[in-house]
Amino acid sequence: MEPMADLEHQAKIKTRKSLAEARAITVRFAGDSGDGMQLAGDQFTDTAAVMGNDFATLPEFPAEIRAPAGTLPGVSSFQIQFSREIIFTPGDFCDVLIAMNPAALKVDLPNVKKGGLVFVNENSFDEAHLKKAGWKANPLTDITLKDYQVIKVPLSSLTANALKDHPLKLSEVERCKNFFALGIVFWLYDRTLDHTIEWIQKKFGKRPEIASANVAVLKAGYNYADITEVLPVQYHIKEAKLEPGTYRKITGYEATAIGFITAAHLAQKTLFYGSYPITPASNILHELARYKNFGIKTFQAEDEIAAVGSAIGASFGGQLGITGTSGPGICLKSEAINLAVMAELPLVVIDAQRGGPSTGMPTKTEQGDLLQVLFGRNGESPIAVVAPKTASDSFRMAIEAVRIAIKYMTPVIFLSEADIMNSAEPWKLPELDSLPKIEAKHPASANGPFLPYRRDPQTLARPWAIPGTPGLEHRIGGLSKADLTGNVSYDGPNNQKMVDYRANKIRGIANDIPEQEVLGPQSGKLIVLGWGGTFGPIYQAIADLKAEGIQVAQAHLNYLNPFPKNLEKILGQFQKVLIPELNSGQLLMLIRSAYPGTNAVGMHKIQCQPFKVEEIKAKIREFI
């Protein structure tokens, strides 16, 4: 075999193979955490983007930084679905699994469709690796894989062969093998290599020998698939018919960070981000720390409490204070969030939810914090909660969080999820100039004594007077406040009045947010109500059923407190409301208590994994 065969020869061989059209394909790269699977997945995703497919991704990595090589806990994987149609999920099961070692095969075989393609790195299936992965016998030689099309590729030796004339160390050669695998998959799905080659050359610009080795291996993998007989058919996936516009690939982290940067710009505020490292929220801190030239100030605090305290201090100082964390950090921040409720200062708290309770599953997803962010504070302490439903939706909802916080002088929870943060999808870029400004009002003087708790009659927000402004000197704090003056007050009726003000203030936000939309029929047997990251699988399940002639409605909430004001009316139009959640029924509880006439049933999954489309379809069928 000649991995670097000349182009003419390749072309001749290529004509022998057939090219088929495919609608949607799901690929999963799986290997050791040091095998470069996330990198391969990212490159495959970027290429899907530049080729105009719609796509959704799901990276999964272990909580351990480097679990022992070759073991099950050390497996890192990346799944992408790409399609010529509009999709919102990374796919239930994959059409192709690339397994770099026996552990990856063991962990990820259950994620492969029956009859799917399984590529394995044959070189890694030796006795030691099999034992580490807990295989009693070699799955390549027994009946384990009888339901799959298995393609055994000696990836390590082919990579070494492709690089025999390159001046690389042995360990460096071994590290190139992910590009060989990527090359094979690129050929299989008729992908262009250009984007990845460009990326490699940029990334390894300072080490041209590494760059040229990686490019050579990528091409060798591509040519290997093209020339050999292992893959008889090549598939082509056409461009998706996305809405007209300009797009880019975006992850939830990026969309969240860019959303808050944009919001600060719209409000003409300095964005101050106080945060303590915690998975899966740390990437927001990393993202924002890169953008100091936007005037952004990031502060890595000594703990979660200091992080939120510093953000409150920045807001007290008249700027935009934001803190970010995950569930365990929310626990620690709750007293300070309550201080911001009492002091009535704007504050945005990002909660990137992960598996709980306690430390739980730090790198995995869940929707377990909804009741915590709503109610996890002492006393009567209502706050606004918004939730993005996909990675790119985080941009829009970040701006909403800031708008509400500033206009209503209140903490707002931006309730995201690990999978929303980690996933990537195409983002239709907004018209920046059409985004409305966020108006922050700061009194400059007072006629007579300044009253820090004299409320705006419309919003019930108190004035945001900035320290340094002459004549407006005042004191705020956590003790019960007298109406208007904000002086310490132990008067019972006054306390009730202030509690009512704050509750009505949050309730009133319902008049200032978009009405809830319903996709599909506006009345009938069943509506599926969701929030946050379950949007994709619910949408896909309903779309699939529609193709079968089954009509089901979907409503997906971006606003969890307050609810959109037409929500009750919407739900009343349906005989049944199905609420799928990655928890044991938290929105379900809220809906039942807010709208007791609603016939709501829950669907719960607490496995720290997203819903599969098939699971939701099966549940819907129970009611149709």
Partner: protein, 341 residues
């Protein structure tokens, strides 16, 4: 920001008195601290709206309500975190954190340590009365071992913590100790703290006449304080005593008290140096405790170091200089886009 104190005060103490009724127990040492603070600020040109007092929870943390400035009475132990965020977005304010031995050294110990090691430009006043007053009399982290309180009927079995040791270990750039009963000394220390750029940490011995009366009396009592306190003055030998007849010198690594007579060569005695970049000497002073040694009061340490807020702002400016002012369009529409028609 802070100006040298002028001879004729630009403000009157009354300018800094808020309308709120002061509600400390009669005879509480906090009254003297409040009055001294108001008198001290009156000596500076800085207008009243430029001051912010931020406190945690405890008796002394009611302080902001009584100052006619901006104020924030926050939650237990967390005042330094709020002051940190405020300082990061506003370089012009004079920010004061009011805390106590429970608020600052127990529940808020972490923030105290970290705000000092970052050298953030604000002033921390730790009012130490060696007791939990607001919760009605439990022992605190500075209560001596054996202290009998409501929560320790058989006596405390907690070894106490020394606030100034924490400040030194955290490399605070200004560290001082003063006391409620000598307002002139307190005023001079507060003035120095105000003028210091970077974090200033001041421990104030304060008497809780209700739950821990006369806790410092053996040291600071009017009749014995000249013999049991040593007042630190930069560049001068450590001399004390009613008749200025005792001095301190080093024996090995330990300080010891020796006799002194006016006019003696001060060679061999400890000469006070606030500006020592090394913390060892200041630490040695913190270990001087009654009854074996006189207790030092005054400025232990005053050194210069870039502040966190200064460096933060410099990084932002540098980023703008290097990469140009952030362009949102570039950030959003930047690279790798594609168009669907």
């Amino acid at each position: 920001m802070a100006q040298e104190a002028a001879k004729k005060p630009p403000h009157a103490r009354e300018d800094f008195i808020s309308g709120q009724e002061v509600r400390w127990c009669p005879g509480c040492g906090d009254y003297s601290i409040l009055a001294t603070m108001q008198r001290t600020l009156a000596k500076f040109d800085l207008p009243r709206e430029k001051y912010v007092f931020i406190s945690g929870i405890g008796c002394s943390s009611r302080f902001p309500y009584y100052m006619n400035t901006y104020g924030f009475h926050s939650i237990h132990g967390r005042a330094p975190t709020i002051a940190t965020g405020l300082r990061c977005v506003n370089p012009d304010l004079s920010i004061w954190v009011l805390t106590g031995d429970g608020d600052g050294l127990s529940i808020g110990g972490n923030h105290l340590v970290h705000s000092m090691r970052r050298n953030i430009n604000f002033n921390i006043l730790l009012v130490n009365n060696r007791i939990y007053g607001l919760t009605k009399g439990q022992y605190s982290p500075t209560s001596p071992i054996g202290k009998v309180t409501k929560s320790t009927p058989e006596g405390s079995i907690d070894y106490p913590i020394n606030a100034l040791c924490i400040a030194i270990a955290s490399e605070a750039t200004f560290i001082a100790r003063t006391l409620d009963s000598v307002p002139t000394h307190m005023g001079s220390v507060l003035e120095r703290a105000m003028n210091h750029k970077g974090v200033s940490f001041v421990e104030i011995y304060q008497n809780c006449n209700v739950f821990n009366d006369k806790a410092f009396e053996p040291v600071t009592g009017r009749d014995m304080r000249d013999d049991r306190m040593v007042i630190l003055e930069h560049g001068k030998p450590l001399i004390f005593g009613k008749n200025r007849d005792k001095a301190i010198r080093l024996k090995g690594l330990q300080p010891e008290v020796v006799d002194y007579k006016e006019g003696m060569d001060s060679k061999g005695f400890l000469i006070h140096n606030e500006n020592d970049p090394e913390p060892n000497y200041a630490y040695l002073l913190t270990q001087m405790e009654y009854p074996s040694m006189p207790v030092p009061f005054g400025v232990f340490r005053d050194i210069k170091k870039p502040t966190y807020d200064e460096m933060l702002n410099a990084q932002v400016e540098e980023a703008i200089k290097k990469r140009g002012k952030g362009d949102l369009k570039e950030l959003i529409y930047g690279s790798d886009t594609w168009t669907v028609k």
